[in-house]
Amino acid sequence: MVVQKSAVAGTLESSDAQVTVEPGSGTLELIVESNVIHQFGRQIRKTVLDVLERLEVTDAKVVVVDKGALDCTLKARVECAVYRSNDITETLPWGGAIK
């Protein structure tokens, strides 16, 4: 999927994450800020990159501000931001690209 415009999903509440996606400049750039970076930074990056790969996002700037979110929340926020950047809210590929 191509990130058409910048979009945000999630909040800065505890256990949540705020994900911002913007159109990229030819590559995938991921910035992660987290209050659990030492213990989970590696896993957060992997989770986010896996989601982006499933959604075939290869050219975007993605910023994750994590407040101790579990993987299920991270995935949900990244997917939401990417689909929002394409204005898609219906007939989503549940169980396909979203999994």
Partner: protein, 300 residues
Amino acid sequence: MMHPNKKRLRRSMMFLNCQKPGLIKDPYIYGTDSIILDLEDAVAENQKDSARYSLYHALKEINYRGVERVVRMNGLDTPHWKEDIRVCVAGGADTIRIAKTESAQDVHVVEEHVLAAEREFGRPEGSTLLMAALESCRGVMNALEVCNSSDRLIGIALSGGDYTRDLQTVISGTGVELQGARQQMVIAARAAKVQCWDTVFTDLDNMEAFEKEVRMIKMMGFDGKSLVNPRQIEIVHEVFTPTKKEIIFADKIVREIDEKKAQGIGVFMVDGKMIDIAFYEGAVRTLKLAKAAGIYEEDL
């Protein structure tokens, strides 16, 4: 064949905002019978999409440890309900709570889309249960047809806020404005052999009034109550826990009926009371409640 979970115990059904990761990550810890993951009123209009992703991954990845996962979808008068149904079925929700149900026709519409989704996402047909929230005078008046509308339907729940508005009154705290609806609904549910749940109680600082209401609706015949806060669970479970005397009596009835049935005897005495097969279901329900409360351990 009846869905094995259609008649499971549902004393407490606790609402949770699907958009709040901190709330949906482990509500099973509180011991509620069912959780209701809310896509409707708790979620702001511009976050409806976002809540679905949260819901999908929660259903797929969080181990809710046997607690029933009900999802409240948006009403049929909104643009959201079709995608709500798709995500519920794809995620494997146990039950969908249909908001603002007015008639059997509403249930049929949802049922049709649920079936389509079950086929689309490769889930067993008929695996997704439904429950209907009645939130208007018309809905309450149609309670019986709603209760009889579908094999998937586990029961009906009163939604007191919208209902009283439609009735042109307010929640007074006395319960007088809800009296008719409660009575009508519980009778309809019993007539159709489905379950029935009372509306939420929102004043968290008045636990005494809450308990009084729970005692009342239990006496009226309700199966349980929709809840808004984990603080309410314990009281509901306490009220719905049978007394020791009731448990002993129910235990005897179940044993005696099982035994007498084998001998071909239809009517007999237990503790000086005339007992027949009609007592069986009630006694089994009493033991189920006692077991859920952790005070009865037999496997009858």
